[in-house]
Symmetry: C2
């Protein structure tokens, strides 16, 4: 059981550290980027895609990333038992003087942690709500997985209070963007679509896979588009494809195309095989 | 000299800690609030106002604050030499499981740090630019001093690259909001005004003092309003009243009302006396 418990390692530059430094800009300002990755049998199938997004985020924010080979080696140590897990990597701009001005030669602080795999997706699909908390429009931060996540924290607290599985978030302009920790796909007139992420939202790793698989369109969607859709699913790189069957008062049956996509992902990346897809777990 | 160096103490709940925990939500999501306070002769003149804003922010985000008496006692220890300094307090929601959902009974992590006092305001006034980085509109977070500050980090980096003292920030809708680390006041037709902070921006402690002193109005301001103003100043609780004499190509002389307000603050709170106002520092 010990391999399922959370274990975390902190580094400042290339050196292990006992904890995050008191003056770290990640703690002070959320000045960092992160990735949350599914590991299976000691491997992270989408490692390269996660790392590529981390690089894009670091370029946008002018953060320095730790050495890729060192991070990968440390990930290997955390997964040395060959188990299933979730790996999380947070990289901050590191410690600095007081004030918003970034240091000219920052040394990144990074935390790599191992967490238990998520519970399997419920077989009857997710129940969602519309969150009251909106996502602000900020092209300078849209798409990347940065550490300024108070909007998601507030929206997730709403979901817990309401007893639903997840919540859909709209922008302050009213466009539908995503769930608190997943991207959204909708089926309309035989075509799949997902909200564009140029103004807010995150360019999800599983979203990119689903876009490719479905030949889906990135577009502007409003509440009516979603409520009138023929099917919905959420997706993220930790839980894969998540069918949705309830949104407030609206109900949908499980949709064959969503279940097929879920099976396709399970075949391609066994990390995402739900119990029903795993012969060894009847 | 040792009293001018940065010193920081980290606490988890009521207990001192060696560093910020690896799983802290402040580091992961910027899930916290902070205050930056000017200390003079071992005291923090605006302590109660800072603490009141911290309470408002914690209520909005449903954060648990540390015990007020303990924080104040620790601040007293950091200032025991009776010196001049800046005190910074950051309070996060503490460590938690992976994921955005806040824990039901969070134990706050807090860092109290002492920093050198800022350099005196330049006698010829500040030079500003218009920042390219915009502030997103988010009523759920507006006004409070939360730790999601990537917009300010990006905007401050612009100012450093451009060699100006500070930068004015507009919202994504084009309204003028504030400087990267200060509030803005403008004089128009004999009346002082400052941008409203219901949609973005921070309700500054020194802003509240200046609003009261000047009988100023909180209103919507655009770029033309600012560029056509008869005088500008910035203010914050660390540096007090900061006259502005340059904004891109626009020039203003030092304005008598701004200098008078600066003197009034110096009289009320000697922490904010600039060298010219301190007989003991000719």
């Amino acid at each position: 059981m010990s391999t399922d418990a959370t274990s975390a390692r902190v580094f400042v530059g290339t050196e292990p550290a006992a904890g995050i430094p008191a003056g770290d800009r990640g703690f002070a300002y959320g000045d960092g980027v992160f990735e949350t990755m599914r590991a299976h049998a000691g491997r992270v199938p989408w490692w390269d895609t996660h790392w590529a997004r981390l690089v894009r985020g670091a370029q946008r924010l002018r953060l320095v990333l730790p050495d890729a080979a060192q991070v990968r080696a440390e990930a290997g140590l955390l997964l040395a038992d060959g188990g299933d897990a979730v790996l999380k990597l947070v990289v901050s701009r590191g410690a600095g003087e007081r004030g918003y001005a970034p240091a000219p030669d920052p040394i990144p602080t990074w935390v790599l942690s191992r967490h238990p795999p998520p519970p399997p997706c419920r077989a009857d699909g997710l129940a969602l709500r519309w969150c009251e908390t909106r996502l602000s429009i900020q092209p300078a931060l849209a798409g990347i997985k940065h550490c300024n996540r108070l909007e998601q924290v507030l929206a997730r607290a709403e979901c817990d209070a309401a007893g639903v599985d997840e919540g859909l978030m709209r922008s302050t302009d009213g466009d539908v963007v995503c769930a608190t920790a997943a991207n959204l796909f909708v089926l309309k007139a035989g075509r799949w679509a997902t909200p564009a992420v140029e103004r807010c939202g995150v360019e999800g790793v599983c979203r990119a896979w689903a876009l490719d698989q479905l030949g889906a369109t990135q577009m502007q969607l409003d509440v009516t588009d979603v409520e009138a859709a023929d099917a919905l699913f959420l997706c993220n790189a930790v839980r894969g494809i998540l069918p949705v069957t309830r949104l407030a008062d609206r109900r949908w049956p499980l949709h064959a195309e969503v279940l097929a996509l879920q099976r396709r992902l399970a075949t391609e990346h066994p990390a995402f095989a739900t119990p029903a897809h795993r012969p060894e777990h009847p």
